[in-house]
Subunit: 319 residues, 2 copies
């Protein structure tokens, strides 16, 4: 039972906790929806609950873990353990001492890192990116996040590298949840896609998306709802997914033209659910804009699945 | 006189040769226009002539140089010394053994590198980028090229990194000389700008650009002609330069969102000529799209000027 680490992946939709052994295997796990109301304290409380349940699943006490890593959205400061500007979380515009709060609640050391960066590193170390030396992780979910590994090492820049969701795909284009115009996320982020679907529905376009959401008792258009709508050949869902794939292909091609990495790892809720299904249109869109189009990068779906973020977060502990 | 290196910067408009001492100082130089007709042999002959004149200017025989470096557009293979797909040069779609050809003509070892990558490294080692650890070089000229230095080292990816000119700024946008749509270069490259100016002139828009070109006996719209047209408040020139600056700001912001480097070094014929004059609108456009806009990167005009490419090329010799 020695040497177990905890990992918590804090997403815009769900909190995934895992207990990870030294070989990278998940020996206990739990999942909670991310609170949609309240503030950072409520989110932290839900995170502590998820971690306790995962520990119970693994048959270990939280304070017996050698440490817990957290992959967080927003601006996660590895040194202070504070998280600020987590826009996709309720009431989290300011700074909140997340590591300190969880450390008190769970009784072991807590380290904080950027959610997509740790998930990228997990795929690089243990998942779909194992065979490559350089890659970009693209996490297609509530927002569109990214992480970079160059020559075998994470590239963080001045701390905020990898924001592929805010690579501009269309100057003067759609409004992004970040407030800017034409970002990849403005077309492909689930939050932006839901806003577009609601707005077009209000303007009279026919769609079953919102009916399906109510029928399945979901508070928002989850990736499962989008999938059902595609299975029903819902025209608006098809159109918005196609629009998202076009934007993803364009933004990823821009990143490859700039970085020329070996591989693209596609993760996130929508990426994992739709990666294989949409691989062909996605790579076609990408290749339209690749400058060296005779040797496109490998494109792989994240293989650690929903647990990649929590596994990656647990890797923070050994640092 | 010992330890002198030659450097040749092969551009779409001009060939700049320099003789460089071990401290990075240029002790002899010469410049020739790049042939607009013929093929690679003609271009190589003009390069050899320029280098011989620079050597004469420095009072040294070409075969007494410890080596000559060449910064070339297109796909420059450092290992074989061949250059292929140099689209901005006449008749140079295929592969040509440039190093071998020049070595025979000049009697000393010749090394080949990518023009913008060597110019970026020159600025990093000796120029405007000296104080930074990570930067992107943006070379705004006939095309728009780029080079990366990350954590003090060149980042080449699989050999073709840094193509910021083919980062997409507008999906479905203007046709680029590379054949794709919406690339930064489609709006900001001098070749694309000239094509747009000619097309709008043919459609009846008023402009003095072409008159100025004829008056000053230039075969194309050089950066000097663009500057004169701006000085004359030529509306079309103003509009096309503004459009270029918007595209540059957008593409550079996308690169910063992805890489979060410390600095942007703006070089190239148009970049050096207009960098200071257009710094304010350029940084304003950039900041519209920066994800972490409270700490924008430093933006500096290349300080080695027109000689940066030749100096950077000469640095290839010591490798």
């Amino acid at each position: 039972m020695a040497e177990l680490r905890g990992g918590i992946d804090l997403g815009g939709t769900k909190i995934q906790a895992g207990i990870v052994d030294p070989g990278g295997e998940v020996v206990g796990e739990a999942r909670h929806p991310t609170p949609t109301e309240g503030g950072p304290e409520d989110v932290a409380a839900a995170m502590a609950t998820a971690l306790r349940e995962a520990a119970e699943d693994a048959g270990v006490e939280p304070d017996a873990l050698i440490g817990i890593g957290v992959g967080s959205p927003g601006d996660a400061d590895e040194k202070t353990g504070a998280v600020s500007s987590a826009r996709n979380l309720p009431g989290w515009e300011g700074s909140f001492p997340l590591a300190e709060n969880l450390q008190e609640a769970l009784g072991t050391e807590v380290k904080i890192g950027n959610d997509v960066q740790v998930a990228t590193e997990a795929e690089f170390e243990l998942g779909a990116g194992k065979e490559f030396e350089s890659l970009i992780g693209v996490f297609w979910g509530t927002g569109v996040g990214g992480g970079l590994v160059l020559a075998g090492k994470p590239w963080l820049g001045r701390g905020a590298a990898g924001e592929i969701g805010h690579v501009v795909v269309k100057r003067g284009g759609a409004k992004c949840p970040c407030g800017r115009e034409g970002c990849l996320e403005a077309y492909a982020g689930r939050k932006a896609m839901e806003a577009e679907a609601r707005s077009r529905h209000e303007d009279g376009e026919k769609t079953d998306l919102l009916k399906l959401m109510e029928k399945h008792d979901k508070p928002r258009l989850t990736s499962g709802i989008w999938e059902r709508a595609l299975d029903h050949e819902d025209k608006l869902a098809e159109e918005l997914i196609e629009r998202a794939v076009e934007a993803l292909g364009t933004g990823i091609a821009s990143a490859i033209n700039l970085l020329d990495v070996e591989a693209v790892i596609l993760g996130g809720g929508l990426g994992i659910r739709f990666g294989e299904r949409l691989m062909e249109p996605l790579t076609q869109e990408m290749e339209k804009h690749l400058f060296v189009n005779e040797r496109p990068p490998a494109v792989r779906v994240a293989s650690l699945g929903d647990l990649g973020g929590a596994i990656g977060a647990s890797l923070l502990v050994s640092r």
